[in-house]
Subunit: 920 residues, 2 copies
């Protein structure tokens, strides 16, 4: 127990208890982890409650044992009260089931007492000219400010160096031998640091951010520019033996000549002075399984060295002195091979191979493998200590591999391959040659057939990214297998602390568009909807597994439409393949998580964030900040739009995670679409002939739903977070709120001119006199615009009423009768599809106007829509097992589900329930 050894805690506990009324409880998302190596989480706070400049936070267990905490603000209400906080808890021997976080004023004794009593556990940072030294109390980690190694050394508290020269490595080739190319160059690159920063407050948690690029390895005779920029974040916690590492790369190569053939991180592990038989290799297998090997094994021999010798080796403890062994073994050691290298390759999501060899130049020996490896490797010694490196979602992100090398020499190494060099090279070229689609007309004709929106040059991976989570653990001696097994589990499902749904909801800091299932009347109709929501979540979780939505780029995405004839998702058909967040399944998953707190849903939604924000979005080049429409390749479609990259999809994760810094970067980067809009005209292929449009930062021709809403979400988050451009972002939102209602038909105008330097809107070029354009698109309302505008309205309490009214009017009229539309706008809307998906707009209007008839209309739209992309109460709401020769692999299918429909059903159901309660 933390408290037991500490004097003078009675008063402290009493103080903590006295503040309990304000305390917020957080608990583990899953069951409590076996080890707490420190954790970060986020909490929302209601408007006006806690002034940003004079609130501090303390943490304790449920029964008031104090817990070391570091806190920071991740979002502000406009009144300077705290909207969101991030918190870090230090590593600890005791892991509580839940924690209480208590906000209090600056003079509060609780805090200073806590500070005092936990000071011994604080991180110390030593900043020298070339190195940052971070001491967690368990590990001392040296971060060089330049050069190739991101980590130059890791020492244990006792002073043993257990890791060295931690660097990124990249292998690439200029062509594919199998395609008959000759003169292919094979290159090896190593990380080159360009920038290093450390978090300001690094008492409980230190964050070291290293940026750089992959640079040709010194030995190479080839020439290749530096490429594949990286950002690697190292999170260290007080009293922790773990380094959480968030590894991000951006692809900036040439798809046809820069094939990644290996991408990894490598550490050297000093082993001098450790006997070969005291050196241990541990590699994670299936379901917590672990390979137990010694570099020189003494079990299973013809002669028994002694039971204690064998069991010590299996358990990873120091062997009894050699003089105590059976002499036949002691004298025959030179005839027992030492295993220098180990390699685990996970080249498919379903099977891994494992092998070892005595040295280069000799054959590998197969070790029986299995299905899905845990993705962690340990190398070390019973006396010299050792290092473990693990990759989250190792098998889900295949092809991956793990190398342990030179274990029989003075300096071994561990390489974690995020992309395995044993796999065929990563190929990001277009999947077809353009099919002759060299004009907009042909591209539109093709769109009619395959739903693919092709345009040469737009199908580029230049600028997409991928982020991986790596865990580095340092040990003073070889840890127990159970411990490594537990850490493997934690590397794959990193412990998350989270508040209860009821608390999250009560703060109104994360939307009013959801409520908890318990808070809606338990009518049969509501119960059916809840059953259906649960069905959809389960369905996608199962589809991910059955359809193997796994892989380096792919994990975290789902697919768009189903081919009932072939019993397969349309993985190969133009715009029907990877979903790229089309119509907001991300929002469905996140809001479903918020209302239920279900761990599986958090993990489902988290993977979407890590995919969509990285792979489906651009981080470099002309498209920076934009996403890509759904397609066979994540980046293949020529529609580059912010509707895919919109921060509204990442917001919940960002705040709940305590402000995940990579996600923060991605959210901020969406502001860059102001520039992208000058370079990319989203409606270039479909604009009416005669309308001349030359993009101008002061007059961008944008759709409010598919173009502005994502940018607005970025503005709003910048404002909340008080990011570097927050005042500018706020001012633009204010200007929009003032100017948008001036458009004659406001949101019904659909597309108008946006001044990206001020936020002001003006009439479209087709209606310079502002006589009232009408451009209705079913797409405008289904990419988070409602959720963004409502967030804005709630955040910006003084928002001009005409803006709110205009929005409510749009919400009302989209689903109104043609007669009503005619009466209001002089014309009935042509496009009224996605009625179920838009029912939440109706419900929102009902909420805002208090109109009960409108609430009924919303549910009617939700329940009786029979157009495309809806789910009806009459649908089967079950899957069917398809097997035998009909399919490659037996699966469960629901051909009546499209992801468009599922996302809209899910989100509309949740929001309708929240806005107007259940159907009457």
């Amino acid at each position: 127990m933390v408290s037991s050894a500490l004097p003078g805690l009675v008063a402290l506990v009493a103080l903590a208890t006295s503040a309990a009324s304000d305390a917020v409880k957080v608990k583990w998302l899953e069951s409590p982890p076996e080890y707490n190596n420190g954790v970060t989480f986020g909490l929302p706070w209601a408007r006006g409650q806690y002034p940003a400049n004079r609130t501090t936070f303390t943490a304790s267990s449920a029964n008031d044992d104090p817990v070391q905490l570091q806190s920071w603000i991740t979002a502000y209400w406009p009144d300077d009260s705290i909207k969101w906080t991030g918190h870090a808890i230090a590593g600890s021997e005791t892991v509580y089931d839940s924690y209480k976080i208590t906000p209090s004023g600056p003079g509060n004794a609780t805090l200073s007492n806590l500070r005092r009593q936990t000071k011994a556990n604080e991180i110390t940072v030593t900043d020298s000219s070339d190195t940052l030294l971070v001491d967690t109390g368990k590990l001392v980690v040296a971060f060089p400010k330049a050069g190739n190694a991101l980590i130059s050394s890791i020492k244990t508290a006792s002073g043993k160096t257990i890791g060295k020269n931690g660097r990124l490595i990249l292998k690439s080739q200029s062509g594919i031998a199998e395609e008959g190319q000759s003169g292919i160059e094979y290159n090896d690159f190593v990380s080159k640091i360009s920038n290093l920063t450390i978090s300001k407050d690094s008492t409980t948690r230190a964050l070291i951010t290293v940026q750089g690029i992959h640079h040709l390895d010194g030995n190479s005779s080839n020439a290749h520019v530096d490429w594949l920029p990286f950002t690697v974040r190292f999170y260290l916690y007080a009293n922790s033996e773990a380094i959480r590492t968030v590894h991000t790369i951006i692809y900036d190569g040439h798809a046809k000549s820069d094939f990644i053939s290996g991408l990894g991180i490598k550490f050297d592990v000093p082993l001098t002075d450790e006997e070969l038989y005291n050196r241990h290799v541990r590699i994670a297998g299936v379901d917590g399984g672990l390979l137990h090997e010694a570099v020189q094994g003494l079990t299973g021999l013809r002669r028994d060295p002694g039971k204690d010798v064998r069991s010590a080796q299996f358990n990873g403890t120091v062997l009894p002195d050699k003089s105590t062994w059976d002499t036949k073994v002691a004298n025959g050691l030179q005839y027992i091979p030492a295993w220098n290298d180990y390699r685990l390759t996970q080249l498919s999501s379903d099977g891994f191979n494992l092998k070892k060899r005595t040295k280069v130049g000799q054959s590998w020996v197969k070790i029986p493998g299995g299905t899905r490896a845990g993705g962690l490797a340990y190398l070390g010694g019973a006396t010299v200590g050792g290092l473990a490196v693990g990759l989250r979602d190792f098998w889900k992100k295949y092809p991956t591999s793990l190398d342990i090398a030179n274990a029989a020499t003075d300096e071994g190494s561990i390489t974690l391959w995020l992309y395995s060099p044993s796999a065929e090279p990563l190929d990001v070229r277009p999947y077809h040659d353009g099919l002759g689609e060299d004009t907009y007309a042909k591209q539109l004709a093709a769109l009619e057939v395959t739903y693919e929106d092709f345009e040469d040059g737009y199908n580029t991976p230049y600028g997409i990214g991928r982020t991986n989570e790596i865990f580095i653990y340092g040990f003073d001696s070889t840890p127990s297998a159970d411990k490594l097994s537990a850490l493997t589990k934690q590397s794959n499902t990193p412990p998350v602390l989270i508040a209860e749904p009821e608390y999250l909801h009560s703060t109104k800091a994360i939307g009013i568009n959801w409520n908890t299932p318990n808070s809606t009347s338990g009518s049969a109709a509501v119960a059916t909807i809840e059953t259906h929501l649960n069905f959809l979540i389960d369905f996608y979780e199962k589809q991910i597994e059955q359809r193997r939505f796994y892989g380096f780029w792919d994990y975290g995405d789902i697919q768009h439409s189903y081919d009932a004839d072939r019993h397969t998702w349309r993985y190969d058909i133009g715009g029907y393949a990877w979903d790229n967040s089309e119509l907001s399944p991300d929002l469905f998953f996140w809001t479903y998580f918020l209302r239920t707190g279900r761990a599986d849903v958090y993990r489902l939604a988290e993977a979407q964030v890590r995919h969509g924000a990285e792979v489906d979005s651009y981080h470099l080049g002309n498209f920076t900040g934009l996403g890509t429409r759904h397609g066979v390749q994540h980046w293949g479609d020529s529609a580059k739009q912010v509707r895919i990259s919109t921060p509204v999809y990442r917001k919940s994760f960002y705040y709940l995670s305590g402000g995940d810094e990579r996600t923060g970067d991605l959210i901020h980067a969406v502001l860059e679409v102001e520039k992208a809009y000058v370079l990319v005209d989203a409606r270039r292929k479909v604009r009416k002939p005669g309308v001349v449009y030359v993009p101008d930062p002061k007059a961008l021709y944008l759709n409010f739903g598919t173009d502005w809403a994502g940018l607005a979400s970025a503005y709003l988050l910048e404002w909340e977070r008080r990011g570097p451009r927050w005042e500018e972002a706020r001012d633009k939102l204010v200007k929009t709120a003032e100017t948008y209602p001036l458009l004659k038909n406001a949101f019904v105008t659909g597309e108008a001119l946006y001044n990206s330097q001020t936020g002001a809107w003006s009439p479209p070029p087709t209606d310079p006199g502002n006589n009232g354009n009408i451009t209705i698109s079913h797409l405008s309302g289904v990419f988070g615009v409602l959720e963004t505008i409502d967030d804005l309205i709630h955040h910006y309490a003084d928002i001009p009423k005409p803006f709110v009214d205009a929005w409510i009017e749009y919400c009302y009229y989209y689903g109104a009768t043609p007669e009503e539309q005619q009466a209001r706008y002089g014309v009935a809307f042509a496009d009224r599809s996605l009625k179920q998906g838009h029912s939440r707009l109706t419900a929102y209007a009902a909420l805002k106007t208090g109109n009960a008839t409108l609430a009924a209309r919303a549910w009617n739209e939700f329940l009786t829509d029979s157009s495309l992309d809806e789910l009806s109460p009459d649908d089967p709401w079950k899957t069917e097992r398809i097997g035998g020769s009909d399919v490659l692999v037996e699966i469960d299918e629901a051909p009546w589900i499209s992801t468009n429909a599922a996302a809209l059903y899910g989100l509309s159901a949740i929001e309708n329930l929240a806005f107007v309660g259940g159907p009457k």
Copy 2:
């Protein structure tokens, strides 16, 4: 029904029935196959029953429908009566549950009537100067007599050419890039035919045997000698659309510079005049699953071409005329990608990947994969027909792959990769550098520690082989998915016809060393033994799966000893890893099959034959005919002995399979050890100092059990089969039977001089005066010597009594009391281990002498042995589940089992029961 359309069958049926008393029933090993594409099987016959020169055979169904049959003799009793026959049944639409095989004289009306009525279904062979043309009635297959293509064309009965240019392909490289070597040469080879033969009688079954070597492809600028000789056998049956193909290669490269990086068979598939949307790709998935794709898919599009179009494409039938389609699809065809290439890779036993691409130079697109693929691929068209190629045990022999290429061009192709070019190259170098073991003394010292018997130069794969079974199917149009699924199943478990155990036993043609479980009194003691036998079989079946005893070289082997500390078989410890048939598990499995008829046991034992006879034996070079002792690599140990390659392990499979020709070759090749004994002195490291031995064909210093018994088995089989050297083989056995008893102590002499030119034995150099050497080794009696000598005694009815008596004496005295040994030989035997394993020798002596006391001694030895390598009634006889962090993958273990012990227990239990009945 076959009979219904045929006139005049009444008399025929009557005749067939009249001979029913002699008819032998054969039934399918597993449930009857869905398709009968012809099958071969073997039947034994009792001595003196059917004269070889005037017996013919007919076949019918159980209710006497005639069945087309071809028969041949595979073994003769010395009195010229038939000992074993092989039979081939033609392909047929009707598949009966069982068949009756009736032997009869040459004038028998049954035969001639059958001949007459089935003549229409006979194979026709057209032999021209450069090609053999074989017409099965369903397929016309052209086999060139020279060049690269083993099959130049396959046509359907209607004249469509559905396969062309079937050739073998090989890729190799001279080094491993990853090891830092530069200047690596990459080579492509293609088959070059050196010899082609066809079976003499080819009416119902034609066997074309093609021999050759892999020759550098014409385009290469490198230089490499021809290498990797092959023998490929094509089995064609009347009325069959399948070509069973048995593909054998012998490794004759240099392990350090000839790395196989791809090994396969490739067919071109003409597709001219087939619309892209009528071309079909089918690839076998998991458990009968099948990928259904068209080269140009019309399902799942934005616009529906029409339900009939979609369903025809899924089902592989001709699409309705394009004029009937929705015009949006018909006019947009150019925008629907055509998929030129497909690739399935099974790089581990547990997971496969699948992908396709539109063309070279474009990215592959992932198709969701799965666990274990069926290993069959089809390419063809609804109107032009197509070809399917399947590999038996595809996933069990990973890394394998399937390529379909150029499907969108006029000529597609299917490549079946027996070794996938997507895997890391095949590495057959030694796994260690010799560990300094440069003298016999050091090698023997190492043997004491790791049980590995190392010697530089002996750890060579030069001359080992591997045989794969491939199935080629030709179709007039794309077949149904169900049919391809059924054929995939049949390619993996090729249908086997087999007689009942009772019949097999009654003929005494396959040993008297087993009986059926029912024939031994049902005492509790016997029931326990039966339970234990069943336990051991189940245990090994489960270990093969759980320990992944799979892979290109490995499938078909099991491992030798267990490491209870690490909960793993000792895969990495010298002589404890791959079992290489040590102490005859093969015989245990086969005799257990014979007595039970269990299909799973047949498959288990069959895989052992295909492994042991190929990978653990040499087929080229100095070691030809010898096997290799157990070790980390199958070929790694320096003990090259016939005890591993002995034909006694292959005999059951050879005869039951109707004389599998590859196995026949391997059996015959063991005769070559006469030469190998001149080159390899098995006891060179352990011979007493002072004994000078220079191998001489006329005076080979051999142990009767580990050296001669295997050769004797080869002689006996050559004699039975009347192979090319049968009279020589017979004469040598006769000479041995005459001369061996002249050794003063006969079998107790242990080692003596063998004249390999005559079969005569003379005293060992240590006892030139024949005063009576005594050399007892526990190994002499446990490599099939009892089974071989008993077969010889039974076959060679006139065998000299002194030889038989000498053998019975050895059987008696090995387990006799020291006092008895002392009384008889003047000294008690030093080595009396493997008592349980030798109890069957005691039981054999009991049988032969009728001594009931001896029978009791046998059971006593069996049940009370407590030395190493035995299993006791007190053992647990259950497995324990080991999971969690103790093991890489959860497994069931039985650390009390070694394969030595299991093999000896199994074989002794079965033989003791057969020789003396159950324990009293």
